[in-house]
Amino acid sequence: MAVVTFVSHDGETHAASLEEGQSLMQVATNNAVPGIDGDCGGEAACGTCHVIVDPPWSDRVGPSGADEEQMLAMNPEREPTSRLSCQMVVSEAWNGLTVRLPEFQM
């Protein structure tokens, strides 16, 4: 079973098993990962599911889309590999992926 690890801002780790076809935000909320709110339910409308992808993985998970990019652009905690996890559809091939969470969500 594929597992993804969320690392909170203070360094705490939460491993979650992923289900192919879900968004990474759903993986987080279904596994009670603190720090990912997903207030809008996955419409890229709120920006409360911001994650920073471990750089070696950034090519494999792909870049942000246009709407997502605009949401991220004004975020002070934005990093080069930032994504909105609601826009990331997970695959079994992501086994071992690590993402960090910002200190504050939007």
Binding site: Q26, T29, N30, N31, A32, P34, D37, D39, C40, G41, E43, A44, A45, C46, G47, D67, Q70, M71, A73, M74, N75, P76, M106
Partner: protein
Amino acid sequence: MSVQRAVIVGASHAGAQVAASLRQEGWAGEVVLVGDESALPYQRPPLSKDYLAGKSTLAELAIRSAEFYARQEIRLLGATVERIDRSAGRVSLSTGESLGYDKLALCTGARPRRLRVPGAHLAGVHYLRTAADVDLIRATAKPGSRAVVVGGGYVGLETAASLRALGLDVTVLEATERVLERVTAPEVSAFFDRIHREEGVCIQTSALVEALAGDARVREVVLSSGESVPADLVIVGIGIEPNTELAASAGLVIDNGVVIDDRARTSDPDIVAAGDCTSRDIARYGSRVRLECVPSAGEQAKAAAATISGKCREITALPWFWSDQYDVKLQIAGLNTGYDEVVLSGDPNRDRDFTCFYLRQGELIAADCVNRPRDFVFSKRLLTQATQGVGRAELPLVTVSDLGA
């Protein structure tokens, strides 16, 4: 000491978030989430959007998976709570059972305001609040049918857009002189009026519905002008009313909603409330406000769970909203109540992206951002974090045309 039990009444956005947040706050007792719909708690905003347009299933709308509730030991109970006995600490259920509680969370939500005109009971007249409501609408919404949407608010306009996507002829009847009259500036109303007309929707403003007429089913909507609009189905979206009866009959303080404070406490120390059923004094706006939106339900729910768990978490977040219609994504930061000036960035008469900033006495209080996520994030952040007022000079204006009120 026996195990404590928290009972949550209402299993939509607020109720589901109270349950999840109780575990995050370390509540070690039982959690029982009582709801009267058969599905897992689901996202309601997509109902008038993708779900009505047939682009998503109810399973996809689940807020969290069945496994989540099982793992977190949150018991989902299908029933309606009929009565609260505060002195005994018990609730009576529609199943005939009763359930004791140590802490109670009221997340009873709201219901659609009914259209009170002759013929409103006819088959083919619908409201839109639950997945079951939308399933009924979808069963009769065939391409080429004529739909009449009563009410030009967000739900009405989103419904109109979704029905157009399904290939129906759509007429929107708005009682006031412009759509979104209660919630946006005239410039934004004019934009949505234009967009819907461009998409083939017929909008009639100042249109007062006098009666619905038909035989076994609704056939036409009769206006006070004497005109009648043919209809195969009618969808009524004229606002919602908070479900406060349960709280009122238990003697809790009600004022246009179950009254809560900044920590989601009601007038009973063992009872909290969250979501569309509540009203709260918001210092920023200097008035008691009943917010009808998911982000607010979530914020209140988190505060409610903290209170139950003996912690302190105040409701501080700024209200915000969103709406999707066609290719138009509207994001709203703040409440524009009491604005005395608007500043536009972009041209709502021509473009499909612009922002309307609302100012009061020279300070930013809200922004309607149409296909401008960047302006939304900017406004939400500044309104939330700025320690002093944000003036016009600091707005990110692409083009300025001041149409101040």
